[in-house]
Symmetry: C2
Subunit: 376 residues, 2 copies
C-alpha cells in the first residue's frame, strides 16, 4: 500500500506512509501499520447492520421496503439482495470512538446507526435534488420508487436517526442528539451551497472547502465523536474527536474529488470523468481555475463555453480527457492530492489532545490512512 | 357562535355549545364562554413569531429567503409581506400547556417554535409530493422556488425544530424532543398512508381515522403537551394533554374534511369542492361509501367512473355538486359532523386527568370549541 493519490508531490512529514521507512517506529500496539482496516470496517458493519435493519423495520409500509432497497438489502422486485452498502467508514468510527472514551465498542452502536440513518436520509434527498440516477451501481430510489417515496423515506430515516438516540433516555443521548442535529444542519447547508454553486461561473477554493466541510466533514466529525459522547466523554474530548473527523472528512472529500475525475470506473461504479460530465465545481477544477497561467486560462474559457454548449451531453471521451489534462496541467490535481495529505495530517494531530489507549489511537490513524489511499 | 358544522344532528351532551343555555353554568373563571379565543391565538402568535423568525434567520442563504416566503413574511419578489400565517392553534396550545404545568407561558415558546418548524417542514414536503400549487392563498414553495428548494428548506426546518429544543440543554428539553420526534414519525407515517390510499379504490373509515390521527392528531398532541413537558410536568400529565391534543386533532381534521367539500372558498382560500377535485378519500366520502343504501351505491359507481375519466379535470361545478349531494344523502356529511363532536368530547374529557387552574382549563376548552366551529 502506498499513498498514491498522485505520486510526485511533496510528502507531508508525519504521515506513516505504508511500505516506507518511517522516521520513528512506534511501539507495536500503537502502529497504524499493524491494524487490519478491513477487519475494523467489518467490525463496525457487523455491530451496526442488525440494529440498523431492526430500526428500518419499524417504518410503516411501503417505506420499509423502499429503505431496504436503498440500503441494498433487497432488489427493485423485493427479492433479498446483498448490495454494496458502502465503505462503512462511519460505523467503524462511531464504534471506535466509544473505545476512545474507555467504553465498550457496543456503546457506540446507537450512534453509528443514527449517523448512518442521517447519512442515508441526505443521500436519498440529494440524489433526487441533483437528478442522480445511479448510486452504488444501482438505480437510485427516486428512479425506482418515484420522487414522493424518495422524499418521504428520507424524512423517515432522518426522524428515525433522532429516535434511536433519544429513546436511550440518557443525558449522554441528549448530548449526542444535539451534536447529530448540528451535523445535520451543516449537511443541509452544504447541499444548499452545492446547488447554488452550480449556477455560478466561479467558486473560490475557500467556498469549495467550506461546502465540502459541511457536506462531508460535519457528519464524519459526528461519527468520530458520537460513540465517545455516548460513552460519557466530556466536551473537550468530543470536540477533539470531532476535529479529527472533520479534517478526515475534508481529506475524504479531496480524494473523492480526485476519483470523480481520474477514478477507475470499475472501482468507483461511476462513469469516466463523472464529475466533469456533471460540471461539478470540485476541488481540482476550482484549484486549477484559481492557479492562473495558460492552462488555467484555457480551462476557464473551455468551461465557460461548455456551460452554454447545447451538445454537452454528447461530448466524447476525448473532449473530457482534454479538460482533465488541462486541470492537471494547471496544477489542480496535484493541489488536491496535497490538500488531502494536509487534511490527513491535521486530522491525525487532533488525536493528540485525547487520552486514549495506544491501540485505539492506532486504529483512528489507520482509518485516516485508509481514507486517503482508497480507490473507491 | 353556534356549533354549526351541520345543524340538525344530535348534540353530544357536554359540549358547551356557544350561545345556548348549557345544563350547568360553571363559575366565571372556568367558563370557556368567557375566553377570548382571538386574544388567546394572538398571544400564542405574538410570543412565538419573533423567536420563530430569529430561528429561520439562522438558515444559510437562500434557504432563509425561501422559508420566509413560505411563512408569508415576504412575497415571491422578496418584498416584506404580511401573509396569512395560518390560524396559529399550535402555538396557542403549546404556550397554554406550559401553564397547565404551573409554568409561565414563555416556558412553552421553544416548544411552540419547534412544533411550528416541524409542521411547516411537513407542509413544504407534502405540497411537493401531492403537487399542490396553492397554500394560504399563495403559490406553494415548489411552484415559486422549485422542487429542490422545497425539499431542502423542509429538511432545514425539521433539523431546526430539533435544534431549538436541544440547545436548551435540559433534561426536559430532551424529553420534549423525544415526544416531538415521535410525533414527526407519525406525521410521516400519515403522509405515507395518504399517498398509498390515493391508489386504492376503497379505504375503510378506520384506516381514514388512523391516517388523520397520524397526519393531524400526533402533532396537535405534541403541541398540547410540549409546553407542559418543558415546564417540568410528569409523563402522566403530558400523556393526558397529548390525549386531549390527539382527539382535538381528529376533531380538527373532521372539520377540515367538511370544509374541503362544503367550505366557503372565500374563507378557506381553496377552490369549491376542493377535496372532490383532488379525489381525496376524506371522512365524508369514506363514511358515505361505507353507509350502504342507494345513494352510497350510486356514489361508489360514480367515483369508480371518475377514477378512469380522462376529462375529470374539466368536470363542471354541477358534476361536483351532484357528488357532494350524494355524499350528504348517504349520510357522510352528518356522520363526519358527529365525529367532530364526538372527538371534541373525548378531547375535553381528557383534561379531567390533569390538575390545572380553572382558567387554564377553560382556555383549553375554548380552543377545542374554536376548532370545531371555525369556517377556515
Amino acid at each position: 500500500m502506498t499513498l498514491d493519490l498522485h505520486g510526485t508531490g511533496p510528502r507531508t512529514p508525519g504521515i506513516a506512509t505504508r511500505g516506507e521507512t518511517v522516521p520513528t517506529v512506534p511501539p507495536a500496539e500503537t502502529a497504524a501499520d499493524a491494524v487490519d482496516v478491513t477487519a475494523l470496517l467489518e467490525r463496525g458493519r457487523t455491530l451496526t447492520t442488525p440494529v440498523l435493519r431492526a430500526a428500518v423495520d419499524r417504518l410503516a409500509a411501503p417505506m420499509d421496503t423502499v429503505a431496504a432497497y436503498h440500503f441494498g438489502w433487497i432488489d427493485a422486485e423485493g427479492n433479498p439482495a446483498d448490495g454494496d452498502g458502502g465503505k462503512a467508514v462511519r460505523p467503524a468510527l462511531a464504534v471506535l470512538s466509544a473505545q476512545a472514551a474507555g467504553a465498550a465498542p457496543e456503546v457506540g452502536v446507537p450512534g453509528a446507526v443514527a449517523v448512518e440513518l442521517v447519512h442515508n436520509f441526505s443521500l436519498l434527498h440529494d440524489d433526487l435534488m441533483d437528478g442522480d440516477e445511479q448510486r452504488r451501481h444501482r438505480d437510485t430510489v427516486w428512479k425506482v420508487h418515484g420522487p414522493a417515496q424518495a422524499i418521504l423515506v428520507g424524512d423517515a430515516l432522518f426522524a428515525l436517526g433522532n429516535e434511536i438516540l433519544l429513546e436511550l433516555g440518557t443525558v449522554e443521548a441528549g448530548r449526542a442528539t444535539r451534536r447529530l442535529t448540528s451535523a445535520t444542519r451543516a449537511l443541509i447547508d452544504g447541499q444548499a451551497q452545492d446547488i447554488s454553486y452550480e449556477h455560478r461561473d466561479r467558486v473560490t477554493v475557500e467556498e469549495c472547502l467550506e461546502m465540502e466541510g459541511n457536506k462531508t466533514g460535519a457528519l464524519l466529525a459526528c461519527a468520530s465523536s458520537i460513540g465517545a459522547v455516548l460513552g460519557g466523554a466530556d466536551d473537550f474530548t468530543a470536540d477533539a474527536l470531532e476535529k479529527y473527523g472533520y479534517h478526515l472528512g475534508l481529506a475524504f472529500q479531496a480524494v473523492d474529488d480526485l476519483l470523480g475525475i481520474w477514478g477507475d470506473p470499475e472501482a468507483t461504479g461511476k462513469q469516466t470523468w463523472s464529475d466533469l460530465r456533471q460540471r461539478k465545481k470540485s476541488l481540482p477544477v476550482v484549484a486549477a481555475l484559481a492557479a492562473g497561467g495558460p492552462a488555467s486560462e484555457r480551462l476557464g474559457q473551455l468551461l465557460a463555453e461548455d456551460a452554454k454548449a447545447s451538445d454537452f451531453a454528447n461530448f466524447s471521451e476525448e473532449e473530457f480527457a482534454a479538460r482533465a489534462a488541462l486541470i492537471e496541467e494547471a496544477g489542480g490535481r496535484e493541489w488536491t492530492a496535497q490538500e488531502a495529505r494536509r487534511q490527513h495530517t491535521i486530522a491525525v494531530e487532533a488525536l493528540d489532545a485525547v487520552q486514549m489507549p495506544g491501540h485505539v489511537r492506532a486504529r483512528f490513524v489507520a482509518l485516516a490512512d485508509f481514507v486517503v489511499v482508497r480507490k473507491r
